[in-house]
Every structure is written in C-alpha cells, then in structure tokens.
Symmetry: C2
Subunit: 334 residues, 2 copies
C-alpha cells in the first residue's frame, strides 16, 4: 500500500554488492528465485528464524554487528543440529524509516562476517519497509547425506546426554542489562554491562562438531540450545517419547568477567545455564562415551535419557521435577 | 528479551496440525530444520517474500483469508516465474499481542487453501511475538530440471513480449479504497469497495503456464508481475541488457464490476495496468508466436525487446519514454 521503492532498491543493491556466490549457488540475488545445486545423494535442509527488535534484541543494548551476527547464528545453529552443511543464506529484512542507514550497514557487516567465516553465500531474500522497528528473518538452506540427518526423535532410554561449550552467558548478561536499567530508572547509579562483554556474545554455530557426530553416527538425537536447556531438552524428549535425568553439578556454566577485574570470572547462576536461551550450543544423546573435546569444543555429559517420561534435576541429595522454563521443588526426596 | 512461549507454542501447534507432509518432505515441522528431497537431476529454487501489515495489507480492508492466500501467492508466483515446481512452503509469522486468535486462524485458513490447491505442504517456519502489527515472511522452495530455470537475463533484441491474464485489478481496487477513505474523512458518503470485489482478488500463481513454457523452451526470459508491469519489465531489461517497446493498446486491462451493477464492467485505467503491482501474472519474452490461451489462461503480446536501452510506450500516434513506476511525456514525437 505504501512503498519505498527507492530505499528498498538501495538496500537490495547494498546486499547484492556484499553478497558472494558460492559453488552451490547457480543464480543468486537478482532473479525471482535463487537457483541452488544440492550435492548428489544429499537431502536438503531448510530453517527460518526471526530476529525482531525489542523481542530478540534492543537497539540501545546490542551493537548492530552483533545483531547481524546472531541473526545468522540462529539459522546456522539449526543446520548444525541436524549434522548438516550450510549451502546458502537468505535474508528478509524490514526496516522502519527512522532506522539509520548506518545501522543497516553495520548489521549487514556483522552478518556477512559470520557468513564468510563459514563460507555461506547470501543468495537472496526480500526487503520491505516496516511500520515500526526492525524485523529480520534469516533462512538457511543446507544439505546432509540422504537419510543421515540427526533428528530430535532418535533418543533411547539409557542414552547419555551431552552438551557442547558452556551455558548461560547470554541470558545472564541480559539479566544484568535489565537490572542496570531498573536501577537507572530508580535514579541510582547505572550498572551498564560494558560493551566488551557484550562483544563476547558472538556465538559460533557448532557446525563442525555436528558434522563430526553425524559422520561417526555418534548421536542418536540432537537439538540446538536456542530456547534454553530445559525447554530444548523437553522438545527432544517429547519428539523421542522419553524422559531425562540431568545432574545439576554436571551442567557446564559460562563464566563472566566482571567489569572491574576481568581476571576474576564467576560462573553464572544455575538458572541461567538451565533455562536461559540464545546459547546456540548443541544438546545431543549418544550411547558412546565422547571425548571431552571435539573440534576444539568442550563436550560435557550432563545426564541420561530415561524410559520414565518427564525431566528430573538431580542435586546433591535430592531430585526435583524439571519443567521447561522453570522448575518445581518436590515435597519429598526421591 | 520478552518471550511468549505459551502462545507461540499454541501457534506452532495450530500450524503443525494444519500442515501436511508432501512426498518431497522427509521431516517437516518439529525439528531444527525441515528435511526435503529434491528430484534427481533437478536444481533447487528458493524465494522469500514479506507480507507486512500497513505496508502490504490493512487489517480493516483485507479479510484475513485473503491476506493468507496472497502471502503464499507471492512465493508461488516467483517459482512460476522460473518455470519451476513448488516443493514446500515455510512461514515465519510475527504477531502482536492485540491480534485476535481468530485473525490468525482465518489467515492460516486462506494460506492453506491455496497450498492445498497446488499440493504444497507447509513444512516449517518460525513464530514470534511482534512489537506491533503482523509480519509474515513466506519462503517457498521448489525445483526445476538442471540448467532449465527461466531467468530474467535471457531476453534478446527482437523477442516478443507477452503477459498472462489481465492487469491492474489489485491496484485499481486499492485506489478505490484509499479514495473512499479520504472522502469518508471529509464527512462525505463513504464509497467502500464491497467485500465481494475484494474477494475477487485471489490471484492464482501461474505455475502451469510457467512449466508449459519451460518444457517447450518457449520463453527466453521471464519475471512475475509483483511490482507492476513498468517496474518488472525494467528489471528484466536491466538483467538482459536490452530495451523494450510496449504498445499501450495491447496491454490487457482487468475489468472491475461496479458495486451497483455487477454486469457493467469497465476496464481499469491504463496507469493501473502499467504501474500497479500485485497482479502476480507472468511477463515473458519469446521468439515464438504463442497461442492466445495456454493452460486456460489468456496470453497477450504487448510489445518487443529492442537493442536500444530504455523502455518506450507506443500510443496511437506518439511514443513516450516509459519509466519504472511512472512515465514522462516526450516533448516531440519520435
């Protein structure tokens, strides 16, 4: 109804100049569709993920490069969770008229930096005017040898549960930002988390370890940690029709440096590692005993799959029922 | 930052229940990625298109079923413009908290009705909270035999230019709606375009004719008419490094029934057929003489490709320079 052909066109031109063809991209930006070639004997993977201003990020908190980087991470992490290889990315970007061109340039810079790191061409997308704020939808297309995708539905009772990396950094930092904003509004001294710490939040999608697990048929089920451990484990259990026991002490917690003394790093509270989202690590199940490091990334056993449905969190001397996004104390020990 | 896991989950469940697997969909909604099988010897097509409230539609004007239908049309029409076959659709949907559930149900109903018509499974997507209004991004994946996609870049001087169907209905009706709103705000009698006419606006993506042209190698270049004839022809000329001459009288104009006498149908003004968007017909070039009807759809020759760059509109006794989205009168005849 209301259109901005000129600035849309500028945006397309900018993306087009930044985008590079890859070997799988026959025709990229500039036609009705992109044309891609899938390696023979492979199936195709497709994933889409929104990054929405004031839902997934805030312009006053997150540097635009970080928003762009994390936007693409969301898609690549889903490809990693299938054991797949990314082939091309597509970006649908809606921008309100009050968003500075500079913001868009820096957003694209961050996105393309990660794309280059994993050799993923930006092969198309759409641009539009938004009636408020920024909405980005990232689509990543990948491939996996036929029948070899690692699904959420393959976990069996007795399988061990593993996670890559360390958990809880993203949500702990967000909480800090929210609290410092609250204290600011109460006229007390603002405790903004310094930009260097925000800049640490550049999650690397775990593509290499996903492929490593797929090639060795070492994972019976896998999911990426985008919603938080408890929620994503719940998804995996639901799809596999199993339950799970998690050892609280076993969960690898991220350590954050404080603003004053960068050397003193404290692990985040358990609730962030357990329920916080946006870590983009992998959660997988396996009958095998995994090495503690794969492709340079820490791998930690955190529990096991059970026949009994539901999730339980095992502590020092008690068990709690674990629910997606929160947990309830049992009245008696189990 | 702020999440609505419960209602998002409800939405996913609703989409999941509505969605059906297709023969190409190995794994659909419910995993990190969808897994698709591409027919052997085929390349993959990917297209993404936003449908944004108050940009592409208005909630007070467009019935939700129509918004859903047109949302998917945008994607399928791009597949048609490559001569391809759709394989699966993905929907990323962001909804503000004040949007009634009923609106979402009716939107999905319209989208899935068109999906069923063309046997395209809804195989995944994303859902999110929006901070205002509705943003939908449709992704359609299709396939085409290797090397056979009809691109925008293949037009040669001397090729004839054709369009399918009739043009200008969507933009003419929008103009009516805008004018009746203006007159309404001036306290004069509102002239709302009646719902039956809006309901006529259910464009059918021209998949069959696109495939017909590709199978017979009859089209040298093709694009779908989403931005308007003058703008889309300009895109095609730019990609093919050619110019074009269009005969004003030759452009097939849509006829709209008036509210009072549905029998008296008048063709829309030339400017709507020439510059109005959202028709979702195909524009293609060919050295062949096409039949006047293909797959039940009218095919009309409207001009020819020229070596001289730029577009010209030929009238009764004069030629005008034709520009994307508007035209300028020449001071002298050519």
């Amino acid at each position: 109804v209301i259109r901005m052909p000129l600035s849309e066109r500028k945006l397309i031109e900018r993306i087009r100049r930044s985008a590079r063809g890859g070997e799988g991209v026959v025709t990229g930006i500039g036609d009705d569709c992109a044309v891609l070639r899938i390696p023979s004997g492979h199936e195709m993977l497709v994933t889409t993920d929104f990054s929405i201003e004031n839902v997934h990020f805030r312009r006053d908190w997150h540097p635009p490069e970080l928003v762009g980087w994390r936007c693409l991470t969301r898609g690549l992490s889903d490809i990693a969770a299938m054991g797949g290889e990314p082939l091309a990315a597509f970006l649908s970007l809606a921008i309100a008229s009050d968003v500075p061109q500079q913001w868009v340039s820096r957003f694209l810079k961050g996105l393309l930096k990660l794309a280059k790191k994993f050799n993923v061409p930006l092969a198309g997308g759409d641009t539009a005017q938004s009636k408020g704020g920024i909405q980005a939808d990232i689509i990543v297309v990948g491939s996996v040898p036929e029948g070899k995708a690692i699904l959420r539905s393959g976990a069996k009772p007795g399988d061990q549960i593993y996670v890559t990396g360390k958990l809880g950094a993203a949500s702990a930092i967000l909480k800090n930002l929210q609290q410092s904003e609250l204290s600011k509004s109460k006229q007390s001294r603002a405790k903004r988390v310094p930009v260097p710490i925000i800049r640490q939040l550049r999650p690397l999608p775990r593509l290499e370890i996903g492929q490593w697990l797929r090639e060795r048929r070492m994972a019976s089920a896998m999911i990426d940690l985008s919603d938080g451990l408890s929620t994503d484990l719940d998804h995996l259990c639901e799809e596999s029709h199993v339950g799970a026991e998690i050892e609280a002490e076993g969960i690898p917690r991220a350590r954050l440096g404080s603003a004053k003394s960068r050397s003193a790093k404290n692990p985040v509270a358990l609730e962030f590692a357990l329920h916080g989202g946006d870590d983009y690590e992998l959660l997988f199940t396996s009958t095998a005993e995994l090495p503690s490091k794969v492709a340079g990334v820490q791998v930690t056993r955190i529990g096991r799959i059970t026949k009994t449905l539901g999730m339980r969190l095992l502590g020092d001397d008690k068990a709690q029922r674990l629910k997606a996004g929160g947990w309830e104390h049992f009245t008696k020990q189990e």
